[in-house]
C-alpha cells in the first residue's frame, strides 16, 4: 500500500520531471524510484513517446523577403492597408446604414410634405387649392415677403386689421 501511494505521488511528478522542472532533490528521488519501478517506468515511457512523436512535426523557414514585406507594410499609408474582416464588415454595415438613413430621410420628408400640404398646418393650403397653377406659383413666391402668409406675423397683422375694421 505504501509503495502504491508512492507510485501515485511519483506519477504526479512525472511530467514536471520530464520537463526538468522539479527541485533537484525531487528530481533525484523520482529518478531513483523509476530505476526500480516497472509501473512508473511504463507511465514515463508514455510521456517520452508523446514527446518523441511531436518531434516529427516539421519546421518552416522564414521567407527571405519577410522583413522587406514587413517594413513595406509598416511604412505604407494607413488608408492603403487591407482592411481586417471586422473592419470590412463594419465599413459595409456603416455604408448600408448610411444609405438606409438617407432614403428614409427622403421618404419621411416627402411624406411630411404631402401630409402638411393636405392639412391646415400648411400655410398655403387654403389659397393653393382654390387658385390656378399660375396663381399658386405667384403665391409661393410670397415666402420671400417680409411677413409671409400663414406666419405668426401675418396672423397678427390680419387680427389687427380686422379689429380696426370692426372699430370703424
Amino acid at each position: 500500500m505504501g509503495d502504491r501511494m508512492k507510485c501515485q505521488d511519483v506519477q504526479k511528478k512525472l511530467s514536471p520531471f520530464q520537463d526538468g522542472e522539479l527541485k533537484s532533490k525531487d528530481q533525484d528521488q523520482v529518478a531513483k524510484h523509476l530505476q526500480g519501478c516497472p509501473a512508473c517506468q511504463e507511465e514515463f515511457a508514455k510521456l517520452e513517446r508523446v514527446w518523441q512523436a511531436l518531434e516529427g512535426l516539421p519546421e518552416i523557414h522564414p521567407d527571405p523577403e519577410f522583413y522587406g514585406r514587413l517594413i513595406k507594410k509598416i511604412n505604407e499609408p494607413y488608408e492603403s492597408r487591407p482592411l481586417s474582416g471586422f473592419q470590412e464588415v463594419f465599413q459595409l454595415f456603416s455604408s448600408v446604414i448610411g444609405c438606409t438613413l438617407l432614403i428614409a430621410g427622403v421618404l419621411i420628408g416627402a411624406f411630411l410634405g404631402n401630409f402638411l400640404a393636405g392639412s391646415d398646418l400648411f400655410p398655403f393650403r387654403s389659397t393653393m387649392a382654390s387658385k390656378s397653377p399660375e396663381t399658386i406659383e405667384v403665391v409661393s413666391f410670397r415666402v420671400f415677403d417680409p411677413v409671409p402668409p400663414g406666419t405668426l406675423g401675418d396672423g397678427y397683422i390680419r387680427m389687427v386689421s380686422n379689429t380696426e375694421i370692426q372699430h370703424k
Binding site: K12, Q52, G56, I71
Partner: protein, 181 residues
C-alpha cells in the same frame, strides 16, 4: 529594443531576423496553416514596432513577444469562430512522424503514404487539444521555455502551467493511441 523604440529601422531589422523563425514556427504549429502563420507573424512584428515605444524592460523581450504572439493566436481562433483548422504538415525528409513513434518499433521511412497519414494524425491530435494546453505544450516542447516563462506568457500561475502540460500530454497520448488502433 531601445533603439527600435527610437525608430531605428536597422535595429528593428536585426530584432526581426533574430526572432522571426521562432515566432513563425510557434504560430505555424499553433494554427497549422502556413499562409496564416506568415500573415500572423507579420502582424506580430507590426505590433512590436507599434508598441516599441511603450515597451518597458520589466520582462525579457522574448517573453514579451511570445505573449503578443500567444494573444494574437488565441484571438485569431476566437475570431474564426473556434473553427477547427484542417491542415496537413508536409513531411520533412528523415523526420520521424506520427503515431508510429509511439510504438517501440522503428517507423518505415519508405512508405510515404503511411508517413503522410501518420503526420496528419499527429497534427490533428495536436490541433484537437484545448487552446491553452496546445500553446503550453508548443512553448515547452519546441521553444524549451520554463514553466515560469510560460506562466508569464499565458498570464497564469506556474502550477496552472504544470496542470496544463500534464493534461496536454495525457490527452495527446490518448488521441494518438486511439487513432493508431
Amino acid at each position: 529594443m531601445s533603439r527600435t523604440a527610437g525608430g531605428d529601422e536597422y535595429a528593428f531589422e536585426v530584432l526581426v531576423r533574430r526572432h522571426q523563425a521562432s515566432i513563425l514556427n510557434l504560430i505555424y504549429r499553433y494554427v497549422g496553416d502556413r499562409t496564416k502563420a506568415k500573415d500572423l507573424a507579420q502582424e506580430v512584428f507590426m505590433r512590436v514596432w507599434q508598441a516599441a515605444k511603450s515597451y518597458e524592460a520589466k520582462a525579457k523581450f522574448s517573453t514579451w513577444i511570445y505573449r503578443i504572439t500567444a494573444n494574437l493566436c488565441l484571438n485569431e481562433l476566437k475570431s474564426a469562430g473556434r473553427k477547427k483548422l484542417i491542415f496537413h504538415f508536409s513531411n520533412v525528409e528523415g523526420a520521424e512522424t506520427g503515431v508510429e513513434a509511439l510504438s517501440d518499433e522503428s517507423p518505415s521511412a519508405e512508405d510515404r503514404l503511411l508517413a503522410d497519414e501518420r503526420s496528419r494524425q499527429i497534427t490533428d491530435a495536436l490541433q484537437s487539444l484545448p487552446e491553452n494546453q496546445r500553446m503550453a505544450l508548443i512553448l515547452k516542447k519546441y521553444d524549451d521555455l520554463s514553466y515560469q516563462e510560460i506562466s508569464k506568457i499565458l498570464g497564469c500561475s506556474v502550477s496552472a502551467v504544470e496542470s496544463l502540460l500534464v493534461r496536454a500530454k495525457k490527452n495527446l497520448y490518448e488521441k494518438l493511441t486511439s487513432r493508431g488502433k
